[in-house]
């Protein structure tokens, strides 16, 4: 292994460990090596905490800035970004919060984080046209059962067990008095919801779905044919459910032939 690669591995490990001794190759002078390395450690943790703070503003408000910074630092050290596009960083934060002992008393936190990640995804998804509701009319009737849809790149589907959307909306209310009133009114034991999050032109939309609409959206988003996806749906509801998903812009493309490579599952 090259000496440089070996040094970069040790240096990287030092940055991601609290109080690790600096590599012996680092010169001191008027400032000790540990303090010099500490500047880089602060930059790494600070820059990535800033990224997480932008993606998870509701979580930060719910737990407070200090708690958030401590949780973020633990998360960053355990799971640094895989690449330089930092919009892709932090999708696992909800799973981390599930396991993060100090947050155990806040069972709804991971669901709020899932919702915020979906919003982040929608905000930074490629700008892509949505499939028009009439698109199915272009497909010959005898081929309609076999068509497959490709989910819009901004779409996330969330099956949540806690009232995360209500909490998210309340905690991000700007007016502090209104915020406190809305938060106090939340029934934390309320059931969760099926949600879809989609990129709008300006701001992401969060839609509440019935279990039937959610099931259909998920089946189609997973690449099932229209006939397969509609199989569990009551026949009298099929046309209106499908029309609803199309009108709301859930899909980016429709493909008439059987796709050799079904699109990746889009659930967040």
């Amino acid at each position: 292994m090259s000496a440089l690669l070996e040094l970069q591995r040790r240096f990287g490990a030092t940055l991601l460990a609290v109080d690790a001794a600096p590599p012996p190759e680092v010169l001191g002078g008027c400032v000790a090596p540990a303090a010099r390395v500490g500047i880089y450690r602060n930059n790494v943790i600070g820059n990535l905490t800033g990224v997480l703070r932008l993606t998870y503003p509701a979580i930060e408000r719910l737990v407070g800035a200090d708690f958030f910074a401590a949780a973020a630092a633990r998360f960053i050290v355990a799971a640094p970004p895989a690449g330089a596009d930092l919009y892709e960083y932090g999708g696992d934060f909800s799973d981390f919060l599930t396991e993060f002992e100090p947050a155990n008393g806040l069972a709804y936190l991971p669901d709020v984080a899932r919702l915020e990640w979906a919003v982040n995804r929608a905000l930074h998804a490629p700008v892509a046209p949505t499939l028009a509701a009439e698109a199915l009319l272009d497909v010959p009737a005898e081929q309609q059962a076999d068509v497959r849809f490709v989910a819009h790149p901004s779409l996330s589907l969330l099956a949540l067990t806690h009232p995360a959307r209500t909490i998210w909306e309340a905690v991000l209310t700007e007016d502090a008095d209104v915020r406190a009133t809305r938060l106090a009114a939340i029934d934390l034991a309320a059931p969760g919801e099926h949600l879809a999050v989609l990129g709008g032109n300006d701001a992401p939309q969060v839609l509440r779905l019935s279990p039937a609409a959610f099931g259909l959206a998920r089946a189609l988003g997973d690449g099932q044919s229209l006939a397969e996806a509609l199989d569990p749906v009551a026949p009298e509801k099929a046309a209106s459910l499908l029309s609803l998903l199309l009108t709301q812009g859930f899909f980016g493309e429709v493909r008439a032939a059987v796709d050799q490579h079904p699109p990746e599952r889009q659930e967040g």
Partner: protein
């Protein structure tokens, strides 16, 4: 649309030897509404790879020359470049047709962990070979030469053997790349390591310098007292303006960028800073007896 038509419609490709600003998200709306009189803009490529930000950049590019400045390519990475990231940068470069493309003499990724900072390299022959190989790969993928920026650093390695300015000059000679001369970074690193900033400037190959950078710095506290930090959170320091004037004398006028990345002020504060750079560029050029195109 034919290439020539497209070029004519756009704010012309080349970056002029005038003052520009680093465009950041909080200024998107104000920039497009007020269309400030700056010569060009530079963005961090990693923030514009997709989504609505890319659409904003395309709108800006329609009337301003744009420079793409990467912070995540990790040119000093011993394990080589992230091919997916390089491919995405190449795609962005085709789409934006930037006047300049640049990165830093630094590393930021190891073993598939991206550390989101510009980390220091030991300046050795081994590092030289690594950085040259990575620059060549980037230039091949982008289909053009790039500029490499001198970093702010807070430490040096015991086994470094090559002074930083000589290291940069060797990169130019071996890869055909150009350089960004970040005047604030020279000031910060010179303070942190006891270098002579004017000697550093004089050792750079002037003809290879394609751009100047200017930004604010701050003093470290606690156990790092005595060091300067490249914080980009305030106006350019008077001592850095005067080092910039020295750089103009030694190197000549070049496209000059004002960067402001934290505690970002209102857009007019930034354009006032760039006007300060423009005044110095104009004064230098007048003193040198040249005539500048209007």
């Amino acid at each position: 649309m034919a290439g020539a038509d497209r070029a004519a419609r756009r704010g012309d490709g080349p970056i002029p030897a005038s003052a520009g600003i680093g465009l950041r998200f909080p200024h998107h709306a104000a920039f497009l509404q007020t269309r400030p009189a700056v010569g060009w803009v530079e963005v961090h490529s990693e923030n514009y790879l997709s989504g609505p930000a890319l659409a904003v950049l395309e709108a800006v590019r329609a009337t301003y020359p744009v420079s793409l400045h990467s912070v995540g390519l990790s040119l000093g990475g011993a394990a080589g470049l992230d091919r997916r990231h390089l491919a995405r940068l190449a795609e962005l470069t085709v789409r934006i047709e930037p006047g300049l493309v640049s990165e830093h003499l630094a590393w930021g990724a190891v073993d598939h962990a991206f550390l989101a900072d510009l980390l220091p390299l030991p300046l050795t022959e081994e590092s030289m070979a690594v950085v040259c190989r990575n620059i060549a790969q980037a230039q091949d993928a982008l289909g053009r030469s790039i500029l490499v920026e001198n970093p702010s650093t807070y430490l040096q390695f015991r086994h470094s053997t090559i002074p930083e300015s000589e290291f940069l000059a060797a990169l130019v000679a071996r890869t055909g790349c150009g350089l960004i001369c970040d005047v604030n970074n020279i000031f910060v690193s010179a303070n942190n390591h006891g270098w002579d900033p004017e000697a550093y400037l004089a050792a750079l190959p002037a003809a290879a310098i394609g751009e100047f950078h200017l930004a604010g710095h701050s003093a470290a506290g606690g156990d790092a007292t005595g060091l300067l930090l490249d914080t980009h959170d305030r106006a350019v320091a008077p001592a850095v303006w005067s080092l910039f004037e020295t750089a103009l004398r030694l190197i000549g006028p070049r496209p000059t960028l004002i960067e402001w990345d934290a505690a970002i002020p209102a857009l007019p504060v930034l354009t006032a800073e760039s006007a300060g750079a423009e005044r110095r560029l104009t004064r230098y050029t007048a003193e040198a007896g040249d005539v500048r195109a209007a």
